[in-house]
């Protein structure tokens, strides 16, 4: 079951290794008849070039790493958006003729492993999904001199990124609620050590402040349970509120449940808006109004940015706009 090598193909075709290599790599400086005889031999033997040998000399691997840096609880990788992102990235790389190595970095130990792997010249570039503001990985990887693109803003200045307009999305949600005539609009935040959670909170705050209204804030951690709990808190602190903006859909779903149990009608008594527009948002009763994050588009943009970076192209950050999907809950 041993695979044929370039040398065997050359012998069979009666030409030199060099010529076979030229044909394989589509060089134009090769006579048609030689090309044909080589192709013939390639097909007959079922020859496929050995990747390792090729990598060794070309110093390219046509492989990109997607690194998801995440605490073990899995804020990101448990997220329903994870598969959407992975899928979009995978498709995009496929059309670019590249391969995808997926690495989850959930502990310091695995972070070290990631660094080692990257240093081992196994990949041409890295697409980094690291939401934690204090994550050391972005800086560590970019120090390796390999192209790195982050899936969101990082604390490390020199890592190009593709980010959502989190503040803008929150503003969208809040303005929508204001237009619906809501006066007391509360928010449930994500864990504030995550960039996106902070930005969404900022967007909420600024929009309310611009219209002279007060912020009503409860802390959550992006899980459903925390959303339910935060909603209880809010109802207790401020029974008159008539709208809630949750920083993600899971927490919004938790809040819906609490409101239901508390006998508040949605949207008549309290309007609810979430963020992300995950699939489950359309399954709830009432279905959930949400800020749609264009995850697939963001993933595509990130891949393009990375590929351009590898080719020595520009590295300008990209900000993705988002839109509001209005459903029954508001």
């Amino acid at each position: 079951m041993k695979r044929p090598t370039l040398e065997v193909v050359a012998a069979r075709a009666g030409v030199s290794k060099s010529s076979v290599s030229r044909v394989i790599n589509g060089e134009t400086t090769v006579a048609p008849q030689i090309r044909d005889v080589v192709m013939q031999a390639v097909h007959e033997l079922g020859y496929v070039p050995n990747g390792a040998a090729r990598n060794l000399v070309t110093r390219r691997t046509d492989t990109l790493a997607v690194v998801v840096s995440d605490p073990p609880q899995g804020v990101v990788s448990d997220d329903p958006l994870f598969s959407a992102v992975v899928r979009a990235v995978s498709r995009e790389l496929e059309t670019a003729g590249k391969r995808l190595v997926l690495m989850l970095a959930e502990s310091d130990q695995s972070r070290t492993r990631v660094e080692q792997y990257i240093a081992g010249a196994h990949v041409d570039g890295v697409l980094l999904v690291a939401l934690h503001g204090t994550d050391p990985l972005p800086a560590a990887l970019s120090r390796q001199g390999l192209p790195v693109v982050s899936f969101n803003r990082t604390s490390s200045q020199d890592v190009p990124y593709v980010a959502l307009d989190n503040a803008g999305g929150a503003a969208l949600a809040v303005r929508h609620l204001l237009e619906r005539g809501r006066r007391r609009i509360a928010t449930i935040t994500g864990p504030l050590e995550l960039h996106e959670a902070r930005e969404r909170l900022d967007g909420y705050r600024h929009t309310l402040r611009d219209t002279g209204r007060r912020s009503i804030v409860a802390l959550g951690d992006f899980t459903r349970g925390s959303g339910a709990e935060a909603m209880r808190q809010l109802l207790e602190d401020d029974p008159d509120l008539d709208a809630v903006f949750a920083a993600n859909d899971l927490m919004a779903i938790g809040a819906l449940r609490t409101l239901h149990q508390a006998g508040r009608r949605v949207p008549e008594d309290v309007a609810v808006v979430g963020f992300d527009d995950i699939e489950a948002a359309s399954y709830t009763t009432p279905s959930l109004t949400s800020v749609r994050s264009p995850m697939a588009d963001q993933a595509t943009a990130a891949v393009h940015l990375l590929l351009s970076l590898i080719d020595g192209g520009p590295t300008d950050p990209v900000i993705m706009p988002n839109e509001l999907v209005v459903r029954e809950s508001s």
Copy 2:
């Protein structure tokens, strides 16, 4: 930004390349003092072995491919279970010190690319997720002589697999409904060209037949919309039914919606049971009773089977049991 090579390290440590190599690979036949001086040099230079060069000579890559073979609509990869599987596999490979290359095969073209890649000796083994009964990929890959494990039963005999007990799970659901005193139990199937859909239907049929009851079947395709539509059909054909077993949760959720619109109370008038126990199953109102597929366990088992196969171990298929999670809908 050029990385140091083994030769540079050897020069620095004042020993031969061979010795450095031995130290790097943890061989025991090396004197402690040489070991120390080498380690010192390695750290000072920040040396990391070049992966391609190593692969070339060892003929191992410590990399496994996860291939998801799926039509473009993405029955699998759109599935909420996708990320659970990917995550579990990734974690398991991490602890085994292996890397994961993810490939989606959504068209004949990309299937060819997958075959080419596998043939290029880039990976040590393949974990295949291909639900379609007629998928040519399992046979094609196993023909390459590389270890392949399938994530479910395939039409190709010689591919070891780890499968769910789909029929058993369906039986579990039906028996549960019978115990609840339901008499007219219908089912909504998945697309019958998928193994798992057929097996779940079989489990439903046999269990009912054993108790002398009649099957009431409507066809779906694993999507929410098809579940809603099938439920409408069922209500029309058999207004007296008092229970429905849907072959997956998405369809069950669709069915819930139809029942709600038709004014049937769940579970008082009609009980509903789904399959998979996806996260959304606990968000619906009423929350959904479902057969829990131990996806993470299955993924772990599949990785173990593959690793054992690579080491020349046994290749016996593994069947995962599943359990019923009873919630409000039944």
